[in-house]
């Protein structure tokens, strides 16, 4: 399922810019449109673009199965542990890092950390889903 040389080179060049854009959406999610889910989808698209142009087997050798599973599980556990850590300070999910002026990067408390966790989880989940659905198609 490989495409021609021009397509392969172009997608290899574009893919890191997609990751950078997704990182911007993750970190500035509380100040401008964006946020966890949108960043995660773009992170997954950067890998799926490589799958459609290079072929499934080649990409699977670089981004291994168990690495994606590990990222997904750890970021999910990180989210729940972050919420439970708030119990010590107040209620469940309490924002225990308040402070900072309005409009700056550190003013959100635990919200940017939450956005990072959600983006990693969603990105890993979408990539995993495409791995599993394409595994059946490629075998025929």
């Amino acid at each position: 399922m490989k495409m021609s040389l021009i397509v392969r080179t172009t997608t290899k060049l574009i893919s890191p810019f997609l990751v950078a854009y997704s990182a911007y959406l993750m970190l500035y999610g509380h100040l401008s449109p964006g946020g966890g889910f949108q960043a995660g989808v773009i992170l997954a698209v950067s890998i799926i673009l490589l799958i459609t142009s290079h072929g499934y087997n080649r990409v699977r050798k670089t981004f291994k199965f168990w690495e994606v599973q590990l990222i997904e599980g750890i970021s999910g556990g990180f989210l729940v542990l972050l919420a439970t850590a708030g119990v010590v300070f107040g209620g469940f999910f309490y924002n225990f890092l308040r402070g900072g002026e309005l409009g700056s990067l550190i003013s959100g408390g635990i919200i940017p950390l939450f956005n990072i966790g959600v983006a990693l989880k969603v990105g890993a989940a979408f990539t995993f889903m495409f791995y599993i659905l394409l595994r059946w198609v490629e075998r025929d």
């Binding site: 100040l31 401008s32 449109p33 889910f37 409009g103 969603v122 889903m129 599993i132 659905l133 059946w136």
Partner: protein, 97 residues
């Protein structure tokens, strides 16, 4: 101007018609996605205020941000269940062979 709420309900009805008449399993999954799109349009339309602005920093008149957040969650649920339904269709075809 077309009212977004009326347009949303019409798209939901088109999706329900597709569910009632099509027999191909992939078309059934697509009809459910059409229902979901109509629902999202209906919901976003209820939050619109005339001349409202983007709800980012404190401004005078903003569009309601709550329906957009709720619809994001609904889209996530829709994507997850669509992928599960497609995987079930693949497994059913494999069993028949």
């Amino acid at each position: 101007m077309i009212n977004p709420e009326i347009a949303g309900i019409i798209i939901i009805l088109i999706g329900l018609y597709g569910l009632m008449t099509k027999e191909n399993l992939i078309k059934i999954v697509l009809s459910i996605n059409v229902v979901s799109i109509g629902l999202v349009l209906f919901f976003i339309g209820t939050g619109y205020i005339e001349g409202g602005d983007v709800p980012i920093m404190p401004r005078e008149k903003v569009v309601d941000p709550l329906p957009a957040t709720l619809m994001l969650t609904t889209l996530v649920v829709d994507v997850a269940i669509t992928s599960l339904a497609l995987a079930l269709i693949l497994k059913m075809r494999r069993e028949e062979e």
